[in-house]
C-alpha cells in the first residue's frame, strides 16, 4: 500500500479514530490506582496519540508530495540516475550576433540579430580615432527617427572627436524597439541590456560593467536612455537626455508598470531607490526634478540649456571615463 495512497491514509485515519474512541470509552475502567491500570493508561494514551500524529504526518506528506514511496522515505530506494550531458554554450556565441559590416571613415555599419530578443537592428558603430586600449560605449537610440542626422554629424566632427565608442541603433523599417520586455510583444529589454551590449563587447575593446556604458536619446526617444540609467543601472551608469519629456507630461495611468512601453522616471524614483547613475538633462530650463521627480543621492544630475548633440556625447564620454578611473 503506497505511502500516498488514499486507501492507506483513510485506513490509518479510521484506525486512529477507533483507538481514540476506545480510549475515551475505556477511560473509566483504568481509573483504579493499580500498577496494571496505570500501565494501561500510558499504553492507551501513547498509542492513540501517536496514531493521530502519524495520520497528520502522512496527510501532510501526501499533500506536499515529499516522499512518494516507502523506499523513498527510508532512503532504501535506488539513488541511481542518468545524466544526459549536452555540454556548454559555445564561447563565441555573443560575437555571432553581428554580421560583418562595411566601414566608411570612422563608422562601421553592421546588422545585429539579437540572440535573446530575436530583434534585428542596424548598427552604426563609431570608434574614436587613435583609440586608447579600452574605451566606454554610448548607445544612441535612433529607432524612432528617420535618420540620426545630428548624431552622425557630431561623430564626423574631426575637430572634437568623441572619445568613446558610439553605436547608433535604428531599424530597417523605422519601427521602434521598446526599452523593456513587453508582455506579449517585443523583448526590448533583452535587446538593449543584453544582446546589444554583449555583441559590442565581443567585437570591440569595451567592458561589460555598467561604468563602461551610457545611453543618449533625443525628445521622446530619451525615455529609453533614462530607463537604462535609472531602472537598469547595473548595465548602464549614465544617460544624456536631450529635450526630454517633462515629468508633468507623463500620464500617470500609463506608467505605473515597469513592463509598460513608456517609462516614467518620476514614478520610478518615487518607488525604488535612486541608483548610482549620472544623468545629463540637455535643453532643460527647470531644475532636474522637473523631469525626473525626486532626485537624490547617489543619483547625480547635470542640467544644461545646450541641446547640441556633440556636447552631450562628449559629456557622456568624459563622465564614463571619469567613472572608470
Amino acid at each position: 500500500m503506497g505511502i500516498t495512497s488514499k486507501t492507506f491514509i483513510v485506513l490509518l485515519a479510521l484506525v486512529a479514530l477507533a483507538l481514540f474512541a476506545l480510549t475515551v470509552w475505556l477511560w473509566p475502567k483504568l481509573a483504579p490506582a493499580t500498577p496494571r491500570a496505570i500501565c494501561g493508561r500510558v499504553a492507551l494514551l501513547v498509542s492513540s496519540q501517536l496514531l493521530v500524529l502519524s495520520v497528520a504526518a502522512v496527510f501532510a506528506n501526501a499533500y506536499f508530495g515529499f516522499y512518494t514511496s516507502w523506499s523513498d522515505l527510508f532512503g532504501s530506494g535506488s539513488q541511481r540516475y542518468h545524466v544526459n550531458d549536452k555540454g556548454a554554450v559555445a564561447a563565441n556565441v555573443n560575437a555571432s550576433q553581428l554580421t560583418s559590416g562595411s566601414t566608411s571613415g570612422l563608422i562601421t555599419t553592421t546588422t545585429l540579430t539579437g540572440l535573446r530578443s530575436g530583434i534585428t537592428a542596424r548598427l552604426r558603430v563609431y570608434v574614436p580615432p587613435h583609440p586608447p586600449q579600452s574605451y566606454p560605449a554610448i548607445v544612441v537610440d535612433a529607432t524612432g527617427q528617420q535618420s540620426a542626422a545630428a548624431e552622425a554629424a557630431a561623430l564626423s566632427n574631426a575637430a572634437r572627436p568623441v572619445q568613446a565608442l558610439v553605436v547608433i541603433v535604428d531599424t530597417a523599417n523605422g519601427s521602434t524597439i521598446p526599452c523593456t520586455d513587453q508582455p506579449g510583444g517585443a523583448q526590448g529589454g533583452q535587446f538593449w541590456s543584453q544582446d546589444l551590449r554583449s555583441a559590442i563587447a565581443a567585437h570591440y575593446a569595451v567592458g561589460l560593467s555598467a561604468s563602461d556604458w551610457g545611453a543618449l536619446g533625443t525628445g521622446p526617444d530619451s525615455a529609453c536612455a533614462l530607463e537604462f540609467a535609472l531602472a537598469d543601472s547595473t548595465r548602464y551608469s549614465a544617460a544624456a537626455a536631450i529635450s526630454p519629456t517633462p515629468a508633468a507630461a507623463n500620464p500617470a495611468s500609463t506608467v505605473t508598470n515597469p513592463t509598460s512601453a513608456s517609462f516614467n522616471p518620476a514614478w520610478w524614483l518615487a518607488t525604488y531607490p535612486a541608483p548610482p547613475s549620472r544623468i545629463l538633462l540637455a535643453g532643460v530650463s527647470g531644475p532636474p526634478d522637473s523631469v525626473l521627480g525626486h532626485v537624490r543621492p547617489p543619483l547625480q544630475t547635470t542640467v544644461s540649456g545646450n541641446t547640441d548633440t556633440q556636447s552631450a556625447l562628449s559629456w557622456l564620454a568624459q563622465t564614463l571615463q571619469g567613472v572608470k578611473s
Binding site: Q49, S69, R80, Q194, Y272, P276, P297, P298
Partner: protein, 383 residues
Amino acid sequence: MSLTGAPFLILLTVVTVAIFVLLVYFWPRLSGGGPKGITLRVAAFAVAQLFLLSTAAAYANSYFGFYGTWNDLLGVANASSSRSYTFAAPTPLGAGATEDPITITGHQAVGLPGDGNPAAVGQILDTTIKGQTTGLSADAMIYFPPQYFQPKYADTRFPAVIVSSGYPGSVVKLVTLLRYPARLAGGIATGQDKPMVLVMMSPMIIPGRDTECTDVPNGGPLAGTFWSQDVTTAVERDFRVATDARGWGLVGDSTGGYCALKLAMMNSDKFSAAASLSGYLDALQDGTTGDLYDNNQAFRNLNNLTWRINNLPSPPIAALLSTSKTGEDNYAPTMAFAAAAKAPMRVSTLIRAQGGHNFNTWNAEVPAALQWLSAQLVSSPPG
C-alpha cells in the same frame, strides 16, 4: 525565543510530556460518566494531542529548515489570510555608491576536519546583502574554497554560483543538510570539481511572501533584479569572483531550481549555467505568492519557462534539469522543455528512475550538479 532554537524545542517537549504525565496522574478525575465526563476526556485528549503535534511540527521544521524565524512563519499566516500585499517604498540609500552592500555578520563551520583553517577547507561567511538598485536585502552565506586563500591563486577571480534553497527553506540547511560547501571541498580535493565561490540564499527574501524570484509589476518588489543584478554586483565588488557570464552559474532545488533556470534564461548576459533540481517550469501562483503577475496573463507567460522556450529565442545558457520517472510531477514538462530548447541553448538532464520531492533526492543530486557546474564555468584569468 527563536523558532528553531533548542530552548523553544526543549520547552515544547517539556510541556508536552508534563501534560501527558498530568493526564495519567489525574486520570480518575476524568472518569465520570455521562456527557460531561466524555466531554472532559475528549478535551483533555485534544489538548495533549495539540501539544504533541506542535512539538513534532517544530522538530520537523527545525530539521528541514522550512521557516527560520517567527517572522517568516507568521508572515505566511498573515499573507495567506488577507491575500493582499503592499510594498513599502524602500528608504533611499543615501550615499549608496560608496556604501558597502555586503555586511559580514559572522562565520559558519564548513563541517569538515580542519575547520578554522581557510586554506585547508575554505571558509563560510554569514552576510547580509543589500540591493543597491532594488532596496531589497537578504541574508546569504558565502563559501570560499581553500584555493581562495592560497597564494598561488592570489590573482584568480573564481567562478561563482548562487545556490538557492526551496520555498519555504533556510540558508543554513544548504550548509548542514545538503552540505554544498563540504561536498564542493571534497569534490575539489578529488579533482572532480573546480574551486568555486558559493553564494547561498533562500527565496524567502520578504517575510511571508513567496516572490518566485519575480520582478513584481506595479511597484512590487523587484526580486528577479535583486537576485540577478544586486547580488552578483555586490559579490563582484567585494570578492575575487569572475565578472562575466562564463564565470557565473546558479543551482537550487524546487522553487530554488525554478529561480535558477528563470534567472539564467532572463539574464543570459550574467549567467551561463543553471542547474535546477526538481524545479518546476510554470509560473506558480498560490496563497503564499499572492498575485505576482499584475493579473496579466501575458506577463505571467514571461515567467513561465515552458512558455518562454516555446515562444522566445532559446537563450545562450547551459541548463541541467533533474527529474525522476516516478515520484516527481515535473517529468513530462521537463522532457518537453529539453526537446523544445534550440541552439545556442544546451539542456542536459539528470533523470532518476525513482525519487520524490525531498532531501534524499537532492542529497544524491548535489554532487552531480556541482560537477556539472564545474565543467561549465571558468575563472578569469582561466586557471
